[in-house]
Amino acid sequence: MERKIRILVGKPGLDGHDRGAKVVARALRDAGYEVVYTGLHQTPEMIVSTAIQEDVDAISISILSGAHNYIFPEVVQQLKDKGITDMCIFGGGIIPEEDVLELKKQGVAEIFTPGTPLTGILDWVSKNVKARELL
């Protein structure tokens, strides 16, 4: 039997606005994924280390505080430093379009901005998040 895809939902930085993260976490769970929710106020280090411990296939990050230009690249880099390049990183939040383009160049697979319907996120996840080869 094929194993369930595991997705980490992370809330990095000091911002506590977790409504979006929680709604997405719940929608992913209802859609049949295994969801690991980190809780609030995580550093990029904490998120990467949880992702590795939990063997997740993807990391979803929610940022509304404007710190996205630091946090996303930091998570990508730290995974790379640990030799992990097949973990899909996506996210959402209050992120201007030009920053979205730049973050995609840096290795973030997709960014969902305010007003994206859950169905849009779920469709994207079903097409783009694949089970990783676990060691």
Partner: protein, 553 residues
């Protein structure tokens, strides 16, 4: 109404005319745009009707359903208080001056996340966050720059700050002391509402019990030292923004208020000494009548609670005064100019609901912090409602509407149901420990999202009436340099101050946590020695530990 000879109406008329003598109305005579005369207040046929008296009553009288003041905006408009803060203290000081020059009447400070969470700008936890979502304030030095050329005895300042509220209050007091302004001349509001942080906004540091102690300390200090300062703004705003219903916002906020009053009474404070200084803060969402009814119900509920549950004697203890902010969560990135219309409707509801102070959101806030131009439109929205719409010419114009009165009654009853449940659990502090309100909100928020997904609720420009052409707005960008400069400035302060004195004041704070003494005077000493927010909060963190997210999904 004219031939009614009974006492209540006559007494109220008498009282109101005395009030108006002291608080003159804005106009000699209020007239409509086509010169029709408008009365101060419109009443039922028989204002002595006991049901009217009990449920609605006269403006400025118990149970305050129609407003806390007899003549409301005929006397003076609400305070137009736009929330501002970004980058360095210098950047924000410029925005403050800009807003005051454009007719804003009070200041409201947004602090960046590191300050909100009690970290300094040079903490590893602050990486990427310095000055991004608010202004970076580390020490008294930054406050000196933030309020440069702003008369603290003429402008009132609201500060959106929670776990470190005591520290920021001390900085404000220290600044007044420095400038030789008597403490009884400065005024403003601290948010200082930790219970809603656990419930909704999640900028918490300590566990609930020590947090409550620090809040009661500020109550006591404000009563004794800075009488014009409101030590708390009990906030429904964040509860609603986290996805609650209007009833949940009403219920959880008032239950939070009950918890603070209870804690202060247990400390030995006299309810009538601090109750008049409590203030509230509501979110104003899209549902026009429901929002107005929410504010009317809130006033009535609070009046009854203060009078009957807590035995407050003074009228000012029964009056719920509040600030409103239009619902940030209702704004959309798609077709951002639609947000101006949403904000207008919400602001109108706040005014019809009788707010004392209002922040209108800017159209670009789903994209970034507001630009100067966007914030000006938001402020103009308030000015147009105040000066052009005519809704400020008569008090509580929707009273007596079958729909509004029924909604007011229903919201009150449903909110009371929640409050009874929280009482059964042992009060709000306990309910928070059990994550009860968090679960209720998560449920409501998920339900709402589903209604949007299924198009049961329409958001114009998002799930209906969409358009292909995107709108590009000018966005306020925070310069990456802010972080470097702020860290350098902090280093300089730390190098130039008397570090021995700082350590001594920090050790005193630590020692005093073991006693039941009020901590504020000791925090004030540390602040005056230029101890930083992170250092003072760090000492308290060592003693009290940190609260952790219960991770309710």
């Amino acid at each position: 109404m004219e031939n009614s000879s009974s006492n209540k109406y006559q007494n109220w008329k008498q009282k109101t005319s005395e009030w108006v003598k002291k608080h003159p109305e804005r106009e000699k005579e209020f007239v409509s745009i086509s010169n029709r005369k408008i009365d101060a207040v419109y009443l039922p046929q028989n204002p002595e009707d006991p049901e009217y008296q009990e449920k609605i009553g006269f403006p400025g009288e118990y149970p305050y359903t129609r407003g806390v003041y007899p003549s409301m905006y005929r006397g003076k408009f609400w305070t137009m208080r736009q929330f501002a803060g970004f980058g360095s203290a210098r950047d924000t000081n410029q925005r403050f001056h800009y807003l005051l020059e454009h007719g804003q009447t009070g200041l409201s400070t947004a602090f960046h996340f590191p300050t909100l969470m009690g970290y300094d700008s040079d903490s590893p936890r602050a990486r990427g966050e310095v000055g991004v979502c608010g202004v970076a304030i580390d020490t008294l030095k930054d406050m000196e720059i933030l309020f440069d050329r702003i008369p603290l005895d003429k402008v009132t300042t609201s500060m959106t700050i929670n776990p470190p509220a005591a520290v920021l209050l001390c900085m404000y007091v220290a600044l007044a002391d420095q400038q030789g302004i008597p403490r009884n001349k400065i005024g403003g509001t601290l948010q200082n509402d930790i219970l809603k942080e656990y419930i909704a906004q999640h900028s918490y540091v300590f566990p609930p019990q020590p947090s409550m102690r620090l809040i009661v300390d500020t109550f006591e200090f404000c009563c004794n030292e800075v009488p014009r300062f409101h030590p708390i703004s009990i906030s429904g705003y964040h509860i609603r923004e986290a996805g609650s219903t209007a009833v949940q916002e009403l219920a959880f906020t008032i239950a939070d208020g009950i918890a603070y009053v209870q804690a202060a009474i247990e400390r030995g404070l006299n309810v009538d000494d601090f109750a008049p200084k409590l203030s509230f803060f509501w979110d104003v969402h899209n549902d026009f009548f429901e929002e107005i009814a929410k504010m009317r119900a809130a006033r009535r509920m609070w009046a009854k609670i203060m009078r009957k549950r807590f035995g407050a004697k003074k009228e000012s203890s029964w009056q719920m005064r509040f600030h409103c902010q239009t619902a940030g969560v209702s704004l959309t990135a798609q077709q951002p100019y639609n947000n101006v219309v949403r904000v207008t409707l919400q602001a109108l509801a706040a005014v019809m609901g009788g707010t004392q102070s209002l922040h209108t959101n800017s159209l670009d806030e789903t994209l970034a912090l507001p630009s100067d131009e966007a914030v000006q439109i938001a402020l103009r929205t308030q000015q147009i409602i105040a000066n052009e719409s005519g809704v400020t010419s008569t008090v509580d114009p929707l009273a007596g509407s079958y729909y509004v009165e029924k909604l007011t009654d229903d919201l009150e009853a449903e909110a009371n149901h929640y409050i009874s449940k929280i009482d059964t659990l042992g009060g709000m502090v306990r309910a928070v420990e059990l994550a009860y309100p968090m679960r209720e909100i998560a449920e409501a928020s998920f339900r709402f999202q589903h209604q949007i997904e299924k198009n049961e609720k329409i958001i114009v420009g998002v799930n209906d009436f969409t358009s292909q052409n995107g709108t590009t707005l000018p966005i306020l960008k925070i310069n990456d340099q802010v972080e470097k400069e702020q860290i350098a400035a902090l280093k300089k302060v730390k190098a130039e101050r008397d570090n021995q004195q700082v350590q001594a004041t920090l050790q005193t704070i630590k020692a005093k946590t073991e006693t039941s003494e009020n901590l504020i005077p000791y925090i004030l000493e540390a602040v005056k020695a230029y101890a930083s927010v992170g250092e003072i909060m760090g000492v308290l963190r060592e003693v009290w530990g940190e609260y952790r997210d219960p991770c309710v999904i």
